[in-house]
Amino acid sequence: MSAEPRLLEVRKNVLKQNDVVARMLRERFHAQGTYVVSLVSSPGAGKTALLESILTLLQPQYRVAALVGDLATENDAIRLARSQAPVKQITTGTLCHLEAAMVDRALSGWDIGQLDFLFIENVGNLVCPSSYDLGENLRLVLLSVTEGEDKPLKYPTIFNSADIAVITKMDLAEAVEFDEESVKANIQAVRPGMRHFLVSAKTGAGLQEYLQFLTAQLAEFTQRMTV
């Protein structure tokens, strides 16, 4: 005979551990005046290519650095290092997403206060990264024109967790008969009010507009800090 079962009420957020670290990171970034942008997308959507261009274009005026997450290899870090910006690879092994603690560990030895922008490239995956806050100010979701206009409808959770959509590989738009109106409608269906940019890292089209947006975000962020 064993004791009667009874119900114990508790209320515990399963992701509390990650959320606590993410909050700590966000406070640290805020105190140091570093604006943090994370990038999520499916594998091969062009996160590294976009980041390489952005790091190169921002550098004359801004101090930038990047963390890149991948299951294996340091290829992305090597590519990004060509921009001359400080870059660190986070190799996750078999883990399909980055967590706040990995970001925290990767930042050890870096003087965050020396940076205007920190970019965090997540593992290529449109499912798992959506659950994990990394302490970023802005989350970009990338979608390349070759992936199909209905991606937002297929992965509404990640689009919902992001702030801005960036449509990449616009140089291929014509060849794949990319339907801009349809992708716009699909983004708005899952995330009303979400802003989007159309870019090509290869030709440079659309990058200036996107850069202006980023630097305006930084200016607003710095202004909020000083108020």
């Binding site: 064993s2 119900l7 399963v14 992701l15 509404p156 919902n160 009303p192």
Partner: protein, 124 residues
């Protein structure tokens, strides 16, 4: 699939609670929002594996799925979405991204019993 690491977190948290209160856990009750990014079926499968070799081995995970609830600025009231592909008020079709519920990933209760340290007298 990140459900296994989520399941392991659930087991860790429940185990900690069981140790603190000196009880045996029969079931863990979880609220799972449709926008949490976690799939109930995969989580249930992972939970069983995550329990192996812990105090929770043999326990159940009871998942309550929480629908997506938004605030409609036009109707000025809360509405439940019927589809996560259409973030619009189901009554007046006004687009809204003001989410009230649907991101939950919360342990709400534990079904427990006191640990029996010695075999009760007279038990067959």
């Amino acid at each position: 699939m990140h459900e296994l690491s989520i399941a392991m977190s659930i087991v860790d948290m429940a185990q900690e609670e069981a140790e603190q209160r000196d009880v045996k856990i029969d079931a863990v009750y979880l609220e799972l929002g449709l926008l949490s990014g976690v799939v109930a079926e995969a989580l249930l499968f992972s939970y069983e594996m995550a329990c192996i070799g812990t105090r929770l081995e043999g326990s159940r995970l009871v998942v309550k799925e929480i629908p997506i609830e938004v605030y409609c600025p036009a109707c000025k009231t809360k509405r439940i979405l019927s589809s996560m592909q259409w973030f619009c008020c189901p009554e007046c079709s006004t687009p809204t991204s003001e989410i009230i519920h649907g991101k939950e990933l919360t342990i709400t209760a534990l079904e427990v019993r006191d640990e029996c340290r010695t075999a009760p007298v007279g038990s067959a």
